[in-house]
């Protein structure tokens, strides 16, 4: 017993309840830093929007509102399925949870595909990050968000495989919940990006 402890010193240095609440606190703190990372871009947006309101209005008309709106719906829906997935595993329904996580992943991929078409439409109109301050902001904000979508998809993919393998149940499901929290952040940031970039009136 004692020897096993020495060999795996940190395997169980916390009881499950502390481990769960620690992970949750850590994740929330991390999400806070992510918001602050985007905060710099939001600050830049506020400054330059105040400085060039006409430019922002005119150039935002180039963006495809329909695609943006569809993507918003897709992400909000994916947050719903993610939340349902977390509830499902808390009730011990592994299969349901796995399916819901899979749907979330498919939504994330759909978002990426639509965004790909949007970007290529911009490039074919010779609109690049250095075209103007507005498009710099557009590409940087959506681009940084896209990176977060991919990170989120990576996390969800791992969580999905582990769920399929039956690693999680009603008692232990912290990674699913943490992955879910991260995915909600990705969704939340997009909910701010969409009106700021697509719906300037």
């Amino acid at each position: 017993m004692a020897e096993a402890d020495i060999e795996q010193p940190h395997g169980h240095h916390m009881d499950p309840a502390t481990e769960y609440s620690s992970s949750k606190l850590g994740m929330w703190l991390f999400l806070g830093t992510e918001i602050l990372l985007f905060g710099g871009l939001f600050a830049a947006y506020a400054i330059f929007h105040a400085r060039f309101p006409e430019m922002f209005y005119e150039q935002h008309l180039e963006l495809n509102r329909t695609m943006g709106a569809i993507n918003t719906c897709v992400l909000i829906f994916s947050s719903l399925t993610m939340a349902m997935g977390v509830s499902a595993i808390k009730l011990g329904r592994q299969k349901t949870a796995a399916i819901l996580i899979l749907i979330t992943i498919i939504c994330g991929l759909t978002f990426g595909v639509i965004k790909y078409f949007e970007y290529s439409a911009k490039f074919s109109h010779h609109i690049y990050p250095d075209t103007s301050i507005f498009f710099s902001l557009y590409f940087l904000m959506t681009g940084l968000h896209m990176i977060h979508v991919f990170i989120g998809l990576g996390i969800l993919a791992v969580v999905f495989v582990l769920t399929l393998k039956g690693k999680f149940d009603a008692k232990y499901n912290t990674p699913i919940e943490m992955g879910g929290l991260y995915w909600h952040l990705v969704d939340l940031i997009w909910i701010y990006l969409f009106p700021l970039l697509y719906l300037i009136g």
Partner: protein, 537 residues
Amino acid sequence: MANHTIAHDVYVPFLEKKGFLSWILTTDHKRIGILYLVSTSLFFLAAGIIALLMRFELLTPASDFVDPHTYNVLFTLHGSIMVFFFIVPGLAASFGNFLIPLMIGARDVAFPKLNIASYWIYLLGTAILLVGLLKPADTGWTFYTPYSATTNTDVVLMTFGVFVLGFSSILTGLNFIVTTHKMRAPGMTWHRLPLFIWASYATSILQLLATPVVGITLLLLITERTLGVGFFDPAKGGDPILFQNFFWFYSHPAVYIMIIPAMGVISEIIPVFSRKPIFGYKAIAYSSLGIAFISFLVWAHHMFVSGISETAAMIFSFLTFLVAIPTAIKVFNWTATLYKGSIQLHSAMLYALGFIFLFTIGGLTGVFLGALAADVHLHDTYFVVAHMHYVMIGGTVMGFFGALHFWYPKWFGKMFNETVAKIAWFFVFVGFNVTFFPQFFLGVQGMPRRYASYPAEFESLMSLSTYGSWILGFGILVMVINLLSGLISGPKAPENPYNSLSLEWQIPSPPPHENFEEIPQVTDWTYGYGKKKELEV
């Protein structure tokens, strides 16, 4: 059952395991602390040698030892290495790692694997930045635009390195905050926490809140260079001042990331060697949080002459004065702790006293610089250089050396030569003052910073400063040799050489792998000195 008991009685110090992998793959917070300690100390020595080279160039008015461009490269190297490799992670990550679990009565931090991952990320960041520095950069450590956006040095790699280092800093801070919240031993209430923990906690909050902003700022600078984004380029409608605003929004709080852990160290050393309870515990604890809070509201005092509005300048000047309040609260409480104490001048105590003296000078000259009218004259002169070094060396480095001497027996289980340590302290203290005190006068007389040559009228003060740097360098050399030879041939350290009441001193030196055989039950704060049978000591 019998085996069980015996296995627990065998004491295996955490330093026992040997070999490269046992270090680089460790999840033991004490070993990770050593990894940070060794890495940051090596960078400190390297950047210190670069500083000696700069001072050597400044011995005579002409730029005869190195040419001006090389001088610019040298101060960029000195600043970048000192700030990003040494002083930000220095005390916070090395002593934070070692002390936080020990002081709160835990077996490790909350996320041990994340902890070692943070160290690897630190190494990765330093590697990237060093590769970037191979092409000699001369932007200074602040990477101000527009120069940094146009120079053909490897600004992209350098700033990306800093971005990665920021990640390490964020994850370490996150780990420490969760550890402080979740891992405290039973009975270790918030108001029983050692003040070093309060300081680390305040530091960690700063790391979490400020670092992402410099992260995005440096990413914007990278996109400025790679994608042609123009946020900082007036030709494209951008604004170079915006970079300064963003940069200092992190980098001013970062100054407190550097100093607050040192304040925590001083709060631990002073009561032990005064044999008195710390005076004003809550005031010291909450003033750390107060400094952390105000530090977010003062960034534009770096920009009084950069072209910000008069109203903004006045507000930021006023807010800057506010920082003096929580800082002074600490200094008053430390001196009140000393009052009528039975003071023992151990080398760690000498560094702590040096801290109070020098940091007070550094802090008060900061108020000069926060005053608008004075700053217009003093901005970018040697006065700023002197002020900053009084805070960073007189404050942080004194705290770092004090911590090294204070916890050395606990960490390594050996004793160093106390007499040599006191001699080294003397040279460090005198050398530091001879180096930097003349720079206040140079600044007031108008000598600008960052120049390789200077008018002949400054020669006496400039060469005095250079002689001082040799004394300081000698003192540090003696200190390093003394501490290293203690590791090799020093006598074994007792469990509690200073008769301290803090938890880390109640276990063997060096501590066993998981710190505590039984998680302690805490019933009191750790500063109850001078009450129980003290005379026996």
